[in-house]
């Protein structure tokens, strides 16, 4: 029994290593690897030992929207013709201070709150928060009541008003249900960064850092410790997983 477990463990370790090497080869030069230990086998449970988060430096965020394009390409989110009903998992937002005229531009998406209002209000539990902090919608039990959209302070969610065709296999979506940023959970579980972060860094902007907020040695934790990072609508006490510098 014990040797059986050992052999499973060693096989898993080997697979993780192989996956990490393959990922490393696939990544563009200059993109920081997350590290071998953070790739997760498909049958491995998500734990609360990590909390995934994003840090966005608005000083480095320009007028480009590569993060938006990368996200929507990655997750199969396409323009449906009507901007009022077309889903947006991430959007570029511009905030101009009314008194000073100071302008900040930043990407806005699900803030992956520790205490998400969308999860509180969902009657079926379709809106849920993984142990590692990623907030998701289980499209199989979403009844399309849109209460989560009423509750979200960030307007991070979209409702599918039409049939969805040509979906990305890792991001199932469906007419009559609600969807939002998944923090590219399918990539994160494989030890990769979210598509928006990868795209931002590949253009040299380097405005987005992804990592484990619970690991004091991770880039994101060290950057937060050194420079700080604010939450949008911090007054709501939601303890968001997405933090911003320069707001």
């Amino acid at each position: 029994m014990s040797s059986n477990n050992d052999s499973k463990r060693s096989r898993r370790t080997f697979l993780k290593g192989t996956a990490a090497v393959a990922t490393g080869l696939a990544l563009a030069p200059g993109v920081r690897l997350l590290g071998v230990a953070q790739a997760k086998a498909d049958d491995e449970a998500v734990t609360g030992a990590v909390r995934w988060g994003l840090l966005i430096d608005t000083a480095k965020c320009s007028d480009c929207d590569v993060c938006v394009e990368a996200c929507h390409a990655e997750n199969g989110v396409k323009d449906q013709g009507d901007p009022e009903t077309t889903p947006q998992w991430i959007r570029k937002l511009m905030a101009k201070d009314k008194m000073t005229g100071h302008v900040v531009t930043l990407p806005m998406m699900c803030q992956h709150c520790e205490h998400p209002p969308c999860v509180d209000v969902c009657p079926t539990g379709a809106s849920f928060r993984r142990a590692d902090g990623i907030v998701l919608v289980d499209r199989h039990i979403c009844i399309g009541c849109r209460y989560c959209m009423m509750a979200c302070p960030y307007k991070a969610r979209s409702f599918e008003h039409v049939d969805v065709t040509d979906q990305a296999p890792h991001a199932p979506r469906g007419k009559g249900t609600v969807e939002s940023c998944t923090m590219c959970v399918h990539r994160v579980d494989k030890g990769r960064e979210p598509a928006c972060v990868e795209a931002c860094n590949s253009t040299g902007q380097g405005a987005m850092v992804f990592g484990d907020l619970k690991d004091s040695t991770s880039s994101i934790s060290m950057a937060l410790a050194e420079h700080g990072g604010k939450q949008i609508r911090a007054d709501l006490g939601l303890n968001t997983g997405v933090r911003y510098r320069g707001i």
Partner: protein, 407 residues
């Protein structure tokens, strides 16, 4: 003078007018269901709803009907809980109207879901923290409690239990409307919501809306069946309508005064009261429909004594209260969403996702037909119920309802 015993009789015969009424209501309900089916097949793209205004006209109808349902039970509560005998003959109809309105409202709410076919998921997967979950329990339980209440009132052997069950039903309805108001009151994200006053405000509004619907149904039923409806009952109902409408307006005033005092909420109140920043339609509906036509005019009709003297004017007052109720729901539900989220206080926000601007909404015919279908179902249930069971007193003449009456 001894009080005449109240006799309850089901509507007799099958007059053409009755069949026509049931046919029209049935057809309207069917059209509502077909509209919902069309919405589900084509997707919500055929509605006026979008990613800014996610709850549209169906919610206006549904929440109005559900709030009015709990208020319609008030007549029975005044009789059983507060021991006012003059309302006792009306208690059965009160219970029936309450159930019917709730069923109509829930029908609209359910059929407006993105996936109404998944309704059973709400039973197999439950999030106990969701107010929607509480409401599923509260709505189902309300129907159960009121059915038992009706049984206690209608079955002679069970009459002794009608008061305790009536008290239970009264408490249940208060909790139910608290739950409905809290759908909005507990939403922290939006400027128009996030206020504890929503629960008591919805309760007082329910008194007015439910009573208004009840009065019109009572008038229609007694006119159609040629039964006597005395002034004593009618004048009591008129006085109540005035008091409840005034109470509802008081809560609306306190809600807005609180907002006007807190600088944080000035933007929202400028939007909804003055029509600033794209809030024109909501300010118009608020002042014209909710406040003037829906509150001040009916209150004036009652307290001037006109509604006591003329049933037509009381009917008009009740109809205006209902109109005002729809206006209030439109302003609360649609206006509350249309006002943009405040992500960065003190900054102007722009994006490709309509941040920082008022959400636009033009209701589609399908949404209206679904809402109307729910209303029609409610009225059809009442029409059917009074036909098959003795809910309506044979007479509501003054001598029947008032033990102290003397001609």
């Amino acid at each position: 003078m001894a009080k005449t015993k109240v006799k309850y009789l089901a509507v007799e015969g099958l007059p053409k007018g009755y069949l026509l009424l049931l046919g029209v209501l049935g057809l309207s309900t069917l059209i509502g269901v077909l509209s919902a089916h069309h919405m589900e097949t084509e997707g919500h793209i055929i509605t006026g709803m979008n990613n800014q205004i996610v709850w549209g006209l169906p919610h206006v109808f549904a929440v109005f009907l559900i709030v009015a349902a709990s208020g319609a039970l008030n007549i029975a509560s005044i009789s059983s809980v507060f021991k006012r005998p003059i309302y006792k003959p009306l208690a059965r109809l009160s219970g029936v109207v309450a159930i019917a309105l709730l069923v109509g409202g829930v029908m609209v709410l359910v059929l407006d879901l993105g996936r109404p076919d998944r309704l059973l998921v709400t039973i197999t997967h439950v999030n106990p923290k969701s107010i929607f979950t509480w409401n599923i329990v509260l709505y189902s339980g309300f129907i159960g409690v009121v059915v038992v209440y009706l049984w206690m009132m209608m079955e002679r052997k069970m009459n002794a239990y009608s008061r305790p069950v009536g008290i239970a039903a009264f408490i249940w309805r208060l909790v139910l409307t608290t739950g409905t108001g809290s759908i909005f009151g507990f939403l922290v994200a939006r400027q128009g919501y996030d206020a504890a006053i929503y629960a008591p405000m919805f309760i007082v509004m329910s008194f007015a809306y439910g009573l208004a619907v009840f009065i019109l149904i009572l008038f229609a039923a007694y006119k159609a069946t040629n039964r006597e409806l005395g002034d004593k009952v009618v004048q009591r109902l008129a006085a109540l309508l005035g008091i409840f409408s005034t109470g509802a307006l008081f809560f609306v005033a306190v809600y807005h005064l609180t907002n006007l005092y807190a600088t944080e909420h000035h933007g929202w109140d400028a939007f909804v009261l003055l029509g600033r920043n794209g809030g024109g339609v909501y300010a118009t509906v608020f002042w014209l429909v909710q406040v003037i036509l829906g509150s001040l005019v009916p209150i004036a009709l009652v307290f001037s004594g006109l509604a006591h003297q003329s049933r037509k004017l009381l009917g008009l007052a009740a109809a205006l209260v209902i109109l005002g109720g729809f206006g209030q729901m439109y302003v609360t539900i649609i206006g509350g969403q249309a006002y943009p989220l405040v992500l960065f206080p003190g900054s102007e926000i722009t994006s490709s996702f309509f941040d920082g601007v008022a959400g636009s909404y033009s209701p589609s015919i399908w949404e209206f037909l679904l809402g109307l279908g729910g209303f029609s179902l409610a009225l059809a249930i009442v029409a059917f119920a009074v036909k098959i069971l003795p809910f309506l007193p044979e007479s509501l003449a003054d001598s029947v309802v008032d033990p102290h009456h003397s001609d």
